[in-house]
Symmetry: C2
Subunit: 344 residues, 2 copies
DNA sequence: CTGTTAGCGCGTTCAC
DNA sequence: GTGAACGCGCTAACAG
């Protein structure tokens, strides 16, 4: 008999080959009931011989379980989300779940529509990095399927969220700069009004306040969480002529932009100006000089989010601890040695 | 009557609500046959009212079509693959296809297993970025489902591949450095034996040869396609004391590493040493100084790969042109002004 | 422990 | 143009 390894083999063909009933094969596959050693061997052999692979769609339909977990991100190309996705994938190894990732690219209109795409595909759980979706909508979604939100708050019987302590992070960075001797520290914000920016700024202000330094609005400039915002903001800052010796950018991308603007202005980092970011993107340690920043353990967060969803699905207890933020001091920050040299 | 928008509604419930048969609703949904204007309206209203979403699994089982395209990458967290994935997603907008992304994280063992995961999920097409998979295996897979391979060659009735001209890219970079006046150009390789490295090196040699410069093996050092390789390689190069005024790194990540090692050695880029890369990662233009590199239009490649798979699935003609490589000259390369200053 | 019987929700014949 | 009947490949509930 010729074996056609590339043909789609059905479960009942395996059963026929093994001389058992389809249910036995199914039971073997799902482990839903004990199968005698003898039959097990025959079935295994038949599966091997025919190179059988279960049809996931049929399985999902019959069992009501898709074994897939939906993941919603805004931008799959950012290494920030990439790390998170990696963590999620890692957390799913060994489980039978597979992630189904949908990013804003698929449906620019709105995240709710993306969620619907995922839900239509019968995802059993959801991990979301919301931008538009608010707490209320998340709770609503969580009524249909277990959900973990990263960033925006959500809670309920089937809803959890992970939020880092942005304020503490902002405080840590600013405190670090103050400890180095900086007194004029600029803050390059992210998207104005963004809750994370607000929190990070609050930490910045808090550290200034504690050190007896007063908050100077002229050193607080908006950005957009991208390099371009860091560049423009820093250029504007330099143009104003307001003296400063350090820049705390609200995220790493902004910090890279700030660093580039300083470079173009002929200012050295960290000799002339110190620069610090927030996130610790994978390449933050490889730029020159390596960036001082707050490590947001995004890989680990992805892992925990994945584990949490699986736990909910299994009815196991969920404990979604937030991994702590950490200040990573690298070469981009130093004492303000050439104090205000540029501004004289 | 109370509407429960969050309950799973079935097609036949919609039919009942609309007072038509399930088939009519189905026909409306799939567009497989004409439906009278009157019924269409009623059905639309019922769908709207009940907030009905078709069950993708059931649909896949009945029609034999999953409307999903499998994507296999090695490392979802790299911004290089991220861009490609973004392109793929973009290309699928407006089609009813959704990508299902699986990366090496899911199954470190081997790519073939990942492909099986995808195939078991009934993906209708496949886009792969192979690392282990060879041409022969790809052709084999392509017998089961239309396939586009990015990097490794594959061809056949259902198999296409996109390969950039690595040699031309290597030539362009080297030529650029030579034109600037460089004579001692180091080559920091990627993973030894990797076909892309070999091709890029060939271009490098070709350019040297054309310029009447002889290839110096002591300037050709291995790397690993990561920043670490660039760092170590460059450090070793500096330790050897062999003079050079420029570094051509086989990819951007290696270039960043090289740049960092130079930074640590107190060498300035580009004043002392020029650095060029290959890939044009999204952040290559935001490092300081911005990196001269070869733009690999990875986003566009992702788009074309996606379009090609869809075209195959629709029986439309596929034309998978390779977008051209482009030399992007930025601030990391310059004339060797301070010629060999360091080496005196 | 095993085989038999029913569906899962939908698309798709086939008649009307 | 429309409805009724059947089946996609598998799991689950039922007997034995």
């Amino acid at each position: 008999m010729t074996i056609k390894p590339d043909m789609k083999i059905r479960l009942d063909e395996v059963a026929a080959e093994a001389g058992v009933s389809p249910s036995t094969v199914s039971r073997f596959l799902t482990g839903s009931a004990r199968v005698s050693e003898a039959k097990r061997k025959v079935v295994e052999a038949a599966i091997e011989k025919l190179n059988y692979r279960p049809n996931t769609a049929a399985r999902a339909l019959a069992s009501g379980r898709s074994m897939t977990i939906g993941v919603l991100t805004l931008d799959i190309s950012s290494s920030f989300y990439g790390e998170a996705l990696k963590g999620i994938e890692q957390s799913l190894i060994g489980t039978d779940f597979v992630p189904m990732i949908v990013s804003g690219e698929l449906n620019t209109k709105d995240e709710a529509a993306c969620v619907e795409v995922l839900l239509a595909r019968q995802v059993e759980g959801l991990i979301v990095f919301p931008r538009q979706l608010g707490t209320r909508q998340l709770q609503q979604i969580a009524k249909r399927v277990p959900l973990v939100s990263i960033g925006v708050k959500a809670s309920g019987p089937q809803a959890y969220s992970m939020q880092i302590d942005n304020e503490a992070g902002g405080y840590m960075v600013t405190r670090h700069l103050i400890d180095l001797g900086h007194r004029r520290i600029a803050f390059v914000g992210g998207t104005p009004g963004h809750p994370e920016v607000i929190a990070r700024r609050a930490g910045y202000k808090q550290a200034l306040h504690e050190a007896g330094l007063k908050y100077d609005p002229s050193l607080d400039i908006p950005g957009n969480f991208h390099e371009s915002g860091g560049i423009e903001g820093t250029e504007r800052l330099l143009a104003k002529g307001t003296p400063f010796t350090a820049v705390f950018a609200s995220n790493d991308q902004s910090a890279f932009g700030a660093r580039l603007a300083l470079h173009h202005a002929g200012l050295r980092v960290p000799e002339d100006i110190s620069v610090a970011g927030f996130d610790d993107l994978p390449h933050a340690c490889f730029v020159s000089p390596p960036l001082t920043t707050i490590r947001q353990p995004i890989l680990e967060m992805g892992r925990r989010a994945g584990r949490a969803v699986v736990a909910m699905l299994r009815g196991e207890p969920v404990n979604l601890e937030i991994p702590p933020l950490e200040l990573i001091v690298r070469g981009s920050t130093a004492q303000p040695a050439a104090l205000l040299r540029h501004w004289r």
